[in-house]
Amino acid sequence: MVGSVPIAWVLTLAAALFCIGLFGALSRRNTVGILMGIELMLNSVNINLVAFWRYLQPTGTVGLVFAIFTITVAAAEVAVGLAMVIAVYRARLTINADEVDTLRG
């Protein structure tokens, strides 16, 4: 992998995945869809961390450890986020982000 694929290719892949996730998070009306976009973005960040670890500091463990912490925080985030989606659904009978507008001025 390291001798064959330049690191720029991996970073390009991660950037593309991040932008796809960003588009999903910004354009979806469904709140679960927004959360899925955020998951894609977190995944692309992890690809970056692992690529930098493998290419630039393969004998250390910083990149891997940081990626594992990212996964931990993402799991916590998605659990709380989906619980909030269910709570919003109970209160408002909708989970479309543009219809939950109580705080709108």
Binding site: M1, W9, V10, L13, C19, L26, V50, P58, A79, V80
Partner: protein
């Protein structure tokens, strides 16, 4: 240059990116969640290609296993709002597309045209000290393995490790508290007489996919 590795990388990248695009463009939200699983598995295979085998297993377990199941459960619990005919994107989705494309361009220009050469040189320098696979490696010269990850969690990253476990506990309790349904506020099916009484007062009820009335809080208070 090992062309098989390049081909495998391009294949995995294509799987990941196509699945990602499907996640954000597919109309049915359940299909979207299934494409998300495909994207996660593509990323896990990419980790395997980069010799991060522990992270690949964690990716499969946590993302493809747990997170996607959570997402599917949330979709099923909020099912009937995602029916046919509802708009999937905002009216001004092209603004989001523009933002994403501009960000992609802004990230990709320095990655490819400016820093690429420095990175390749640094990567070559970093690889030169590594013992080849299969040989007996002196300490600190092999690619970090699962053993090294465990050791660093128990030594220099012990405090972050404990804080992460605390965070998971807080998220667990928080998710239960937020999603907990008090028995008194549970929605119930109205009887025909109650429905008639509400109709006479002019209160319009939202109906679910099967046509059953779902009383709102105001309607329950009016009864």
């Amino acid at each position: 240059m090992n062309y098989i590795v390049v081909v495998i990388f391009l294949l995995l990248a294509a799987i990941t990116l196509v699945s990602g695009v499907m996640v954000v463009t597919v109309k049915n939200i359940i299909h979207s969640a299934l494409w998300l699983i495909a994207s996660f598995i593509g990323v896990a295979a990419l980790y395997l290609l980069m010799e991060a085998e522990f992270l690949a297993v964690v990716q499969i377990l946590v993302y493809a296993g747990a997170v996607s199941i959570l997402v599917l459960f949330a979709i099923m619990l909020t099912r009937h709002v995602t029916g046919e005919g509802t708009r999937m994107l905002y009216e001004r989705w092209w603004v989001a597309l523009l933002v994403a494309l501009v960000l992609f361009g802004a990230v990709i220009v320095p990655t490819i045209w400016n820093q690429g050469a420095n990175w390749d040189a640094a990567a070559t320098a970093a690889q030169s000290s590594i013992t080849a696979f299969g040989e007996d490696a002196a300490p600190g010269t092999a690619v970090a393995s699962t053993i090294n990850i465990g050791e660093s969690f128990m030594r220099e990253y012990l405090l972050p490790f404990e804080i992460a476990s605390l965070l998971l506990l807080m998220a667990l309790i928080g998710a239960i508290v937020i999603a907990f349904e008090e028995p008194t506020s549970r929605r119930r099916v109205l009887t025909l007489a109650e429905e008639h009484a509400l109709k006479q007062r002019g209160i319009v009820e939202p109906r679910d996919a099967e046509g059953a009335v779902m009383p709102t809080i105001e309607a329950e208070q009016a009864l």
